[in-house]
């Protein structure tokens, strides 16, 4: 990379280093910088209008070799070999297929072993690497920051822009250090960290920032855990979240099909080791979280910042000093049909959803399976387990996780975004309450009138056993 070109010896943050190495043109007189994009991920929902724009302007895709597409948002998780029933979903997927063919873009279609949620597919192929820039027309692109990449979601106009130019005009982000000290207790996981972070800084607290997660509790996380945290950076209002690369990162990447090999691997690792934030580098803001004190977490409201520890109760809006926050809490409790003071653990659920780009990787499935193994699903509760990709599904089946889920009483599905946003048939019915390992508890997100509580895979598993929101500490 052009790391040397930045020409500065001042201590820099990880984010600044990646930015500097990708600056094609330095903006002057208030103009943004022009930033080079190393990897562009594409899916069926936010791309059709972008390809249309290219056609109208007679522009080609500049770098098909830096672009990859997968089908995920609309895809069914049952009967995947049959024709998709919903005609609008089918047309959208067929449109992606014809666009990929026309513009020469690699596509992993439903049924392909590499098909799956776009943010599971990139890392699994070894395409997501430290120090690169990654974009996708999806806000959860922040996931890839777990590798020390600068990764962020873009709108469809920007998708067209990247397809045409492989760059984006961008103003530099501010930087925020989120330091999680100490060590997580058993039963507490990456999801609990990020839910606690969002509850602390609010859904707008990260606005304009790149978050860098640091500290011993982050270092001790696997790549899957780091992806869970970076994934939900957008839920704190930040476009991107990052974790500095280390041996955990290198070990995850080594040997993956698109990871560098041989001498290239050595050169890459040497460069990646220069990326962590320099001693003395200054962040624009800092937040510190005590990892030792964290407990399993859960949301009670309709935005991801409305969360508490599972041991707590539904808050009373009257206790919230800010008038806007109070009004939002009142509205959320009405939608969620919850009364102030209700212990979180006494709230019964109708469904448990285990999946989404936040928590559908092999380690998530293993964690979930470890809690439910040999137990039975609570009466009257439905459970759907949706692996993040076809490859994760196969890997889990090789370990017998499908059997554990089915013996427990749950449904083992094919890969996709599924009930995280219900663009396919996997939706909550009006009034149904769901413990979900996904990322958004917005009104109607999982189906019109559905009520979502965001939780970790461990909490989802404990909840599936007990039928009420539960901590893994409540289960033998």
């Amino acid at each position: 990379m052009n790391a040397a070109a930045s020409g500065t010896n001042l201590p820099r943050t990880l984010a600044q280093k990646v930015w500097d190495a990708h600056r094609v043109v330095t903006g002057e007189n208030g103009e943004p910088d022009l930033i080079y994009i190393d990897l562009h991920l594409v899916h069926e929902v936010t791309s059709p209008q972008a390809f249309d724009g290219l056609r109208v302007a007679g522009r080609p895709v500049r770098r098909p070799d830096l672009t990859i597409a997968t089908e995920d948002h609309n895809t069914p998780t049952l009967n995947i070999t049959e024709k998709i029933v919903d005609p609008t979903s089918r047309i959208q997927i067929e449109t992606l297929r014809s666009n990929a063919k026309e513009f020469g873009i690699r596509l992993h279609s439903l049924g392909d072993v590499e098909q799956g949620i776009v943010h599971v597919v990139g890392p699994q192929l070894g395409l997501t690497m430290p120090g690169i820039t990654v974009v996708c027309g999806d806000s959860h692109t922040s996931t890839h920051g777990a590798f020390g990449a600068m990764a962020f979601g873009i709108g469809t106009s920007e998708v067209e822009h990247v397809l045409a130019t492989q760059t984006l005009p961008l103003k530099p982000f501010k930087t925020m250090a989120i330091t999680v000290n100490g060590h997580l207790r058993d039963g507490v996981s990456a999801k609990d960290i990020i839910l606690a972070v969002i509850a602390k800084i609010s859904t707008g607290g990260g606005q304009g920032y790149v978050l860098e997660y640091r500290g011993s509790a982050i270092r001790e996380l696997s790549m899957e855990g780091r992806m869970t945290i970076c994934n939900m950076s957008i839920e704190a209002g930040a476009r991107a979240g990052m974790v500095a690369p280390d041996e955990t990162t290198f070990e995850y990447l080594k040997g993956r099909s698109h990871a560098p090999q041989g001498a290239d691997w050595d050169a890459a690792v040497e460069y990646w080791k220069t990326l962590p934030t320099d001693k003395g580098a200054v962040f624009d803001a800092e937040v510190v979280i005590d990892g030792d004190a964290l407990e399993p977490f859960v949301t009670w409201g309709t935005n991801p910042g409305q969360g508490v520890a599972l041991s707590e109760s539904v808050p009373n809006p009257a206790d919230i000093p800010d008038l806007n926050d109070r009004a939002a809490a009142e509205r959320a409790l009405e939608y969620m049909d919850l009364a102030p003071g209700t212990p979180m653990k006494s709230i019964p659920v109708d469904q448990v959803f285990m999946g989404s780009c936040t928590n559908s990787r092999i380690e998530d499935l293993r964690a979930f399976a470890s809690v439910i193994k040999g137990k039975k699903l609570a009466n009257g509760v439905k459970l759907m387990v949706v692996p993040g990709s076809a490859r994760v599904r196969l890997e889990a089946e090789a370990e017998g996780i499908d059997k554990i889920v089915e013996d427990f009483g749950g449904e083992w599905r094919f890969a996709g975004c599924s009930m995280c946003l219900g663009m396919n048939p996997d939706q909550l019915q009006p009034g149904e309450r769901c413990a979900s390992t996904s990322n958004r508890n917005f009104e109607g997100r999982q189906g019109a009138g559905g009520r979502t509580h965001l939780v970790s895979p461990l909490v989802a598993a404990a909840t599936a056993i007990r039928g009420t929101l539960s901590s893994p500490w409540d289960v033998e």
Binding site: A5, S89, G204, N303
Partner: protein
């Protein structure tokens, strides 16, 4: 893109904070492959309530939305901007916008004006007192006004210039095509390549 300078029209008070893009347009409407025709999808669930502001005259003819803190959070769907535009909105005023939503708006000629929370509340009061009152968002002078309320608003110089000139981002970037070519010659060979598939 059309040029933007001074927008005047009926102000619509949306007295809610954290309006996420799932509320602006639910996911079921994202399956379309076109860029227009989303007006009916705008705030689809909230519009099921006959008393929701967009169902009430004269706000059905609104062109300036006045919303609470953190408008446009969540999903990157540009459909949210298309739906607002298709309904007839030319500007949104709020104390803070989500980054991606604001960026998307700038690409579609939807003006996003950031003003202090107190100004939003003052405009809401003006509209309450006089429903149908005009709100003006003046991009040239970077000011918002409604009745007795007058305030400057924040927007960065570059976005303002692009909106006023109606410029296309891709065209602007392609002025730097030689720089992009030069940059690409220095990229390391081990950087990820999706082709050939391995």
């Amino acid at each position: 893109m059309d040029t933007v300078s001074v927008i005047t029209g009926i102000g619509v008070p949306l007295k809610r904070s954290n309006v996420d893009t799932d509320q602006i347009i639910p996911a079921e409407f994202l399956k379309r492959v076109t860029k227009t025709g989303f007006e009916d999808a705008l705030f689809y669930r909230w519009r099921e309530d006959p008393e929701f502001v967009l169902n009430v005259e004269p706000f059905t003819h609104g062109t300036v939305l006045v919303a609470g803190m953190d408008f446009g959070t969540g999903s990157s769907r540009e459909h949210a901007v298309w739906a607002l535009r298709d309904f007839g909105f030319n500007a949104v005023i709020a104390p803070r916008f989500a980054d991606i939503f604001r960026g998307n708006s700038g690409k579609q000629g939807l003006l996003t004006a950031v003003v202090p929370e107190s100004i939003v509340e003052a405009i809401w009061a003006e509209i309450d007192a006089n429903p149908g009152v005009s709100v003006t968002v003046d991009l040239v002078n970077r000011s918002v006004s409604c009745g007795d309320v007058h305030s400057p608003f924040e927007i960065d110089d570059y976005t303002r210039w692009r909106l006023m000139e109606g410029l296309d981002d891709i065209g602007l970037t392609l002025r730097h095509e030689a720089d992009i070519d030069a940059f690409e010659t220095h990229r390391e060979s081990w950087l990820p390549k999706t082709l050939p598939a391995r």
